[in-house]
Symmetry: C2
Subunit: 293 residues, 2 copies
């Protein structure tokens, strides 16, 4: 296998780095002139939940760094019950790597962690991509008990990743077919896989969502402080973090472009991976201080 | 002047074509492998209200056809009081040109006319770009009497196009500066300009907006019938046709991508003309049956 072929999530080895009392798992692959792209994962997702069709094209222009937060996969420690707790781990990880500035792709939970990191240490990010996520004080964030999600999560006939196909994709033939292809891609990595998250991870991350829905003071006021050029992305049929949250993000962040996709849900970036990676690469390639690209 | 330099709204001659009992004014310039792009103009706008920074880059890949509807500028006839009336004129114009299919860029009022044309004759368009516009049954469409707009429209110190700078751009230093640059570009065409629209045009077009706000039956049900790949664009601070209308368009059209711009209003395409023309050209270059590009 050539070095070029090795720049893939399918084959990149899982690495570990110590920071404070923790040991974080991560994967780092790709090359190019761009800043490294830190990828922050969704609810209960491990390193294995990143889609090769998203990570690998982005790794053609930069290093892609997939981070596993404390308590998830083979990272040590307890899963924090706040986004601030997860942000502290992610910042400690970047410090341990010696990275002073990078770009970030935060998906769902990971997008909330990214916002918190940008608030606490603005200099850590140059450009931000926030997909299927919500601002503090957002609406209907990951309410798995609602019927549209609970019917799939409680369906005993759905095995393994099949539930992701149902809840990350829209209930149309075309979106479900894209979901099936996504799940196949998640299985391309044959070895060195992460352990699947258990109920303790889910419970702590769910507590973090509930805390993130709380507001003290003016709603969305935090967003004014995040002046990074930002690309907000969502599918219009997202049941997990509804698109209204992306409307709020892009309307209240002072420097954000919004891109929404039709016929898709939470996993719009996986469904439209060709468009998403083209748009994300163009956004990341911009040297402008303004988001439009 | 070379032929290349002549492919510009600044120098393209105004042409006329007869269709039925009308004589329509238009400009046609540019070349390339793309389908011709029909451009449908905003409230009271003439051929001279198209920004060279938007039309000319798009004319590098295709013919751009700027159409002046009945009663506007040097086009004959009475300004229709419905979008359907304006759509009938635009279709008659394309028939007179012998164009069986084209792409369309509809801005504000023009985006409503484009939707009506797509409903009446789906085969006339391949891909649609709808900027700063609203679906039938949209909200707060061109209510010039509201204080945020009336204060500028009634300001006697604003001369000529200066009012456009106020109402098309956000009330920030950066957006107003972009507005000033836009107005300068509108004056680059020195000769062969159109007469400015009078109160009769405004009154009829305003009646068409009021009719467009009306719904019979299920709200937004017309949008399901428009299956063309569509790019919806708006500035998040649009006071004339608020961005909520673009959210509805992109959420209810079955095959639409939404792009919103920060720090901008109704004239987001003029403010971010480099990004807009890059995105529009990429969207128009796609041969896919799906909107994502």
């Amino acid at each position: 296998m050539s070095i070029q072929e090795a720049a893939s999530i399918i084959t990149a080895p899982t690495q570990f780095i110590e920071a404070g009392s923790e040991r974080y798992a991560y994967r780092r692959f790709g090359s190019g002139s761009g800043l490294p792209l830190l990828c922050l994962q969704h609810f209960t997702g491990t390193l294995d939940n990143w889609d090769p069709a998203v990570t690998d094209p982005l790794a053609e222009g930069r290093e892609v760094i997939l981070f596993e937060n404390a308590g998830v996969g083979r990272s040590s420690g307890a899963t924090p019950e706040t986004m601030a707790g997860m942000a502290a781990h992610a910042l400690a990880f970047l410090d341990a790597l010696g990275l002073k500035i990078c770009d970030v792709l935060g998906f769902s939970l990971g997008g909330m962690v990214a916002q918190q990191m940008a608030l606490e240490r603005p200099s850590i990010f140059r450009r931000m991509i926030l997909v299927g996520t919500a601002p503090r004080g957002g609406e209907d964030i990951m309410h798995l008990e609602k019927p549209s999600l609970a019917k799939h999560l409680g369906d005993p006939t759905l095995k393994g990743y099949q539930v992701l196909q149902k809840i990350f994709f829209a209930p149309t033939e075309s979106s479900q077919a894209a979901g099936a292809a996504f799940i196949e891609r998640l299985m391309l990595r044959a070895n060195d896989r992460e352990p699947i998250s258990g109920p303790a991870v889910a419970q702590s991350q769910m507590a973090a969502f509930r805390e993130w829905e709380q507001v003290s003071g003016e709603r969305f006021s935090d967003l004014k402080k995040i002046r990074h050029p930002t690309l907000v992305v969502n599918g219009v049929y997202d049941e997990m973090v509804p698109v209204s949250n992306s409307y709020w993000l892009s309307a209240h962040l002072p420097n954000a472009v919004l891109l929404t996709y039709p016929d898709s849900g939470h996993g719009s970036l996986f469904q439209f991976h060709e468009s998403f990676t083209r748009q994300a690469a163009a956004f990341l390639a911009s040297k402008s201080e303004f988001a439009p690209y």
